[in-house]
Point group: C2
Chain length 115, copies 2
């Protein structure tokens, strides 16, 4: 006899640091888009997010990381831009690894929920 409704577990993962939330999926998407587009402005457009907001997220990340995740280039040809540091690249990789392991575990451990 099958249950009439299906339930499954969802999991949201993020990294905390002393001052609070440091890195979640939203900031990861932003990092990816900065990498892809070469600037905060274009990354923000891509994500349909206000530049101001994107810029603030970058500030937060950079200040809370041991070393900045995003390098910002001011002025010059093309007005400048932004690109990921090695730490930024690593952050993406690490985050997805951690997230994947936790989500897989969550699925595996929670079959046949009933409410």
């Amino acid at each position: 006899m099958a249950d009439s409704k299906k339930y499954n577990v969802e999991v949201r993962v993020w990294i905390e640091e002393a001052e609070g939330a440091f890195l979640g999926i939203g900031k990861i998407w932003l990092l990816e888009n900065i990498k892809k587009t070469g600037s905060i402005t274009n990354a923000a457009k891509e994500m349909k997010m206000a530049y101001r907001q994107a810029w603030q997220l970058v500030e937060e990340m950079n200040q809370r990381a041991e070393s900045p995740l995003v390098e910002k280039l001011l002025g010059g040809k093309g007005g400048g831009g932004a690109r990921l540091t090695d730490a930024g690249e690593r952050a993406i990789t690490i985050f997805y690894e951690v997230e994947k392991r936790i989500k897989e575990f969550a699925q595996k451990e929670t079959q046949n929920l009933k409410f």
Copy 2:
């Protein structure tokens, strides 16, 4: 050489059903307070949440569960009240079990994060 900053993983767990989010820690707290106080009104006060909001959460839960988690008593002595059904009691237990296992796994699997 110790790292200058400590990072750790945080995890938010909730149960989804076809129509969307079904049961997270907020609704669990509400269930616990209904159990403790015997009414939605008093549970809401306890949590400093508007009665309206608490009532809506209860409705949502009851409709999305296979059988209601909260039994509401209308009128009568004391005006009525609300209490958990067996399904409601079980929901609390199951949720915390699932949450605990996932959080423990998350901690265990993520020592020494560096950013």
